[in-house]
Symmetry: C2
Subunit: 232 residues, 2 copies
DNA sequence: ACCTGAACACCGTTCAAGT
DNA sequence: ACCTGAACACCGTTCAAGT
């Protein structure tokens, strides 16, 4: 790995181009793809760029600033569906496409949920989404409905990210539930256990179950919003 | 603070009682209440107990083990509503009461969502909740509906925790949105901005808005589940 | 302006040695 | 069995000094 390797000679005197903030974020984005947003250090970025750690602070700022830079870049990759789509289609597309992007950069979904519209690249999506809800008849509740749908989908992606960092957690959970299948004293868990038993436990089965639950969550949250329209 | 203070003499020779795993988790729970689950170090726990850092590993294990111990203890404080309650009431109570407990221990909600039924103290709640859904007529879908409702509520609490660690984020978000109130080129954000303008920005206003959005999310998620019953 | 090189005050984990 | 005391391999941040 050689993540920590001291350098010897000045970049300028060696004829190398100067480091820029953009190159630092580039390296941080790539490290985030490989190891997640909490899986790299400022010193590892510096090593990749062949400079000393202080250079990162000089061009970008502290770790927090680097993380925000990465977040903004990743969010900008999420496509914004056309505003002519029916509201349920628009949100389903945005959520499913957003999940695809976010899953490649573990930890960014959590950040997105926490900082929300403070990430500039999220603004076009928010603007279009609220307009779509206005057109659907949500009126003054459009902003809160947007937040509700957005949060429900992407906090779930954040949890999926976290679970990948507990590689055994998924299998443990399945096994723990399955163990209750014949427990008469806990009939609720017994039902969950029977369900768990019928499902596969190898990685691709788990991935398919995750996607299935994500899509279930998306549809339920859309139903929850739709109930606001029909009860008028 | 004196979080790092070396000790001098043997506990045994000083007549002090031996450290136990329970006392270590006690100290960690208290530190979590004060600073959150990511706000303390193994060395700070050791300092509070007047021992060397290695003692924590000896009695409990690594940091992960201490965190799971804290999580289990905090979850055990969440009351389980009576199973005779109508399903919406049962879930509303569990979610609102759970939020009250979890908010006192920042970071635990996130853990709970990630490890789920691997925390032993969560099992009685899961068992009762699934039974309540079975009684309500959700049939084989009871387990997935339980997961959906649980996740929606407590991932939101996890985000609320995170936002408290970005003390400016909340106000920045409000100000950022309000700034779009007269932006004709972004009409969706303009609507959100107008809404943001009418709301207070001091801490207790923010707390009230957080609670309001939490309750909104809870009702919408319950509506989303209820739609599964009415469409049969 | 940009970068080096080092220092500072922290981490979690491990482990031989003492009691 | 329990704890000391130290070592190890890391962190993020800061900053005087060089170019």
């Amino acid at each position: 790995m050689a993540d920590t390797a001291p350098r010897r000679r000045s970049r300028a005197s060696a004829g190398l181009p100067p480091i820029t903030a953009e190159k630092i974020i580039d390296a941080a984005v790539e490290l985030t793809r490989e190891r997640g947003l909490d899986g790299w250090s400022i010193r590892q970025i510096a090593t990749r760029l062949d400079v000393w750690p202080g250079v990162v602070a000089h061009h970008v700022g502290d770790r927090e600033a680097v993380v925000m830079g990465v977040t903004d870049r990743v969010i900008s990759r999420i496509p914004v569906p056309g505003e002519d789509r029916p509201w349920r289609d628009w949100f389903r597309s945005m959520m499913v496409d957003g999940r695809e992007v976010l899953r490649d950069y573990p930890g960014v979904a959590r950040r997105l949920c926490v900082v929300g519209p403070n990430v500039p690249s999220a603004l076009p999506t928010i603007d279009t989404g609220i307009r779509v809800l206005l057109a659907a008849g949500f009126g003054a509740e459009a902003p809160v409905v947007y937040r509700y749908l957005f949060n429900t989908a992407f906090t779930l992606v954040a949890v999926e990210d976290d679970r990948r960092h507990f590689p055994t957690a998924r299998a443990d959970m399945g096994r723990a539930m399955a163990a209750f299948a014949e427990d008469d004293s806990l009939p609720g868990l017994a039902v969950a256990g029977s369900t768990a038993r019928t499902r596969g436990t190898d990685p691709e089965d788990i991935a398919a179950q995750e996607t299935e639950f994500f899509l279930f969550t998306v549809e339920r949250s859309l139903d929850g919003a739709e109930a606001m329209l029909t009860s008028r």
